[in-house]
């Protein structure tokens, strides 16, 4: 497969000088949303919410608090088993955020290692590694997760593994493209003259120069991973019940949308908000620190 277009451009080596106040203006909405969800996920046990697993058949399909039939005991209503939706969404954010962050960290570490190796050594090493990368990139993520779910059984680890095993290829491609141009610059030659070995050049000189790109990619991909994880849970190949996960919550509400719209609507809104926030933050990071990458 052809190279990523943005990756071929010369990297911005120096952080652009921030002259106007405008440029430094932080993206308030994305940071607030991400902060809120991370905080809720971390302190979930301390919030005094009802137990997300507690069933109460008398309270089945209670509408949200502001509806006539609802009560503020369950602000966002309850599901088929009378479980509190707000509490399940808060606990579900732990699953989604953890899946997103862990997967992206694993994938980026492996992908960056492959990209650095391929770009630094070039030649046959590069050719082989890039063929593997291309093959990986064209493999649909969800299919791998499906095989794992049917053979090994659905679990958090399998979801993370299935996504990470495919996702690293993006990082490898982009980082390799950057390293190809970096190794031709003088500071690498100077490091070599000073007697630095391959390991030292890769870890001390090349890697730090790709951090900006890595940060942008990581942020943009967390949202993508959250959506994939939710899709898998929706299909029954993700986080198995009764653990609250946004994708499976939407699936549970699917057959009752007509009489209990809130069961599917609120977890979906949660996904939309978090993913939107990560995408906007990633866009902002890219525009501010690494404008050359704008095609990612």
């Amino acid at each position: 497969m052809p190279a990523e277009p943005g990756a071929l451009a010369l990297p911005e080596l120096d952080v652009p000088a921030v002259t106007s106040r405008r440029a430094l203006r932080l993206p308030r909405f994305p940071l607030a949303v991400i902060g809120l969800f991370v905080l809720a996920a971390v302190v979930a046990p301390l919030l005094g919410l009802p137990d997300p697993h507690a069933q109460s058949l008398r309270d089945r399909f209670k509408p949200p608090g502001w509806e006539a039939a609802g009560s503020w005991k369950h602000p966002l209503g309850t599901d088929r088993l009378g479980r509190d939706l707000l509490s399940r969404i808060v606990w579900g954010s732990r699953v989604s955020l953890a899946a997103g962050v862990v997967t992206v960290l694993v994938a980026s570490a492996f992908g960056a290692a492959v990209g650095l190796t391929a770009g630094y050594y070039g030649g046959r090493v590069d050719a082989v590694l890039m063929r593997v990368t291309d093959a990986t990139m064209s493999f649909p993520v969800i299919l791998l997760a499906l095989i794992l779910a049917v053979t090994v059984g659905p679990s958090f680890t399998n979801v993370v593994t299935a996504i990470a095993v495919i996702l690293w290829a993006r990082y490898a491609r982009v980082i390799r493209g950057q390293v190809l141009t970096l190794v031709q610059l003088d500071f690498v030659a100077q490091a070599r003259i000073a007697g630095a070995g391959a390991w030292r050049i890769i870890t001390r000189h090349l890697l730090p120069n790709t951090f900006g790109t890595l940060l942008v990619l990581v942020t943009l991909q967390i949202g993508y991973v959250i959506i994939v994880e939710a899709s898998l849970s929706f299909l029954g190949a993700g986080i198995p019940p009764p653990t609250p996960a946004w994708g499976s919550m939407i699936a549970e509400g699917r057959d009752v949308v007509t009489r209990a719209w809130w069961v599917s609507l609120f977890p979906g809104l949660a996904i939309l908000l978090v993913v939107l926030a990560f995408n906007l933050l990633g866009d902002w990071l890219r525009d501010t620190f690494d404008p050359k990458l704008r095609q990612l």
Partner: protein, 306 residues
């Protein structure tokens, strides 16, 4: 050019081989497949007989090659649930999936092209901002959730369009748009940034100086080069489309491969999953191959780059 095509073909075959090994290893690594096939009451003797009959007592390498040999001829064994040859199921479902994928791709191209190009031409205007909202929303909305809401409101409450199944053109609209939506966002982004770059280049300025009409400059001179990054990513977008289709087909009860895969998971029907994965991987590989050849035709630099 012929050398390029041959090299790319080899790559695709290698990729498919890797995937088939993964599928095979996963099938064996997770326990004896006989436990799935034989009833609980089977005796040790039944196990031995079945093992010999199915060739599971032979070396793994031999088993792998006979598995590949059968897969190539379209023999994936019998579905555990439907009790029919998997190849029959695939032959029924694959055309439906392809029809939906082509329709969705058409929808996204028809939406992404004018929007992406005009957003770049009228940079900073309301149109551009609208395009950016479409793009960021497209990448943030969970497809299956949108699908459920569309089924409930457009098909259920308003009764404008059918909620599922294949029944004439109208039934393509909801699943097609849901599926195309995500791709529109990505394609539009690529087109916009590609156009911005090209519109700023010397040859476009020259064309303008020479008195070429603005329409010709944008849609002919500039778009041709702005298309290169789009073609680069077309293969990846197709893989994403195939993946998203599993979810969309499930919600819209579309009798395609994706729905087959979903049914396969819920009944742990391994032969079906195996066949769907290999078929899909093959379709994606063929599309990628075509895209790359197209790419090499448009941009001669690619042919010599490697």
């Amino acid at each position: 050019m012929l050398r390029f095509v041959a090299a790319r073909l080899m790559q695709s075959l290698v990729a498919l081989a890797i995937i088939s090994v993964v599928v095979f290893v996963l099938a064996r690594a997770t326990g004896d497949p006989l436990y799935l096939i034989l009833p609980m009451s089977a005796s040790q003797e039944d196990f031995d007989n079945a093992r010999r009959y199915l060739g599971l007592d032979r070396p793994y390498v031999e088993q792998y090659f006979s598995f590949v040999g059968r897969a190539v001829t379209g023999d994936f064994g019998n579905s555990l649930r439907a009790r029919r040859p998997v190849s029959e199921l695939i032959r029924e479902r694959l055309p439906n999936s392809l029809k939906l994928a082509v329709f969705a791709m058409g929808v996204s191209l028809a939406m992404a092209f004018p929007l992406g190009v005009m957003a770049a031409v009228r940079k900073g205007t309301g149109l551009d901002r609208f395009a950016q909202v479409v793009s960021v929303l497209g990448q943030s909305l969970p497809t299956f959730w949108v699908a459920i809401l569309l089924v409930e409101f457009v098909a259920g409450r308003l009764q404008w369009l059918p909620a599922g199944g294949i029944d004439g053109f109208a039934s393509y609209i909801l699943p097609g748009f849901t599926l195309g939506w995500f791709v529109v966002a990505g394609l539009m982004r690529l087109l916009r940034s590609g156009m911005l770059e090209v519109l700023d280049s010397e040859y476009v300025k020259l064309a303008r100086v020479k008195g070429v009409g603005e329409g010709r400059v944008i849609w002919l001179h500039a778009l041709k080069n702005a298309l290169i990054p789009v073609v680069t990513f077309a293969g990846i977008y197709f893989a994403i489309l195939v993946t998203t289709a599993i979810v969309v087909e499930t919600v819209f009860a579309w009798p395609g491969l994706g729905r087959l895969a979903y049914e396969g998971i819920s009944s742990r029907d391994f032969p079906v999953i195996q066949a769907v994965v290999l078929t899909t991987a093959a379709v994606v590989a063929v599309v990628n191959l075509c895209v790359d050849c197209l790419y090499a035709l448009i941009d001669p630099r690619i042919r010599y780059a490697r």
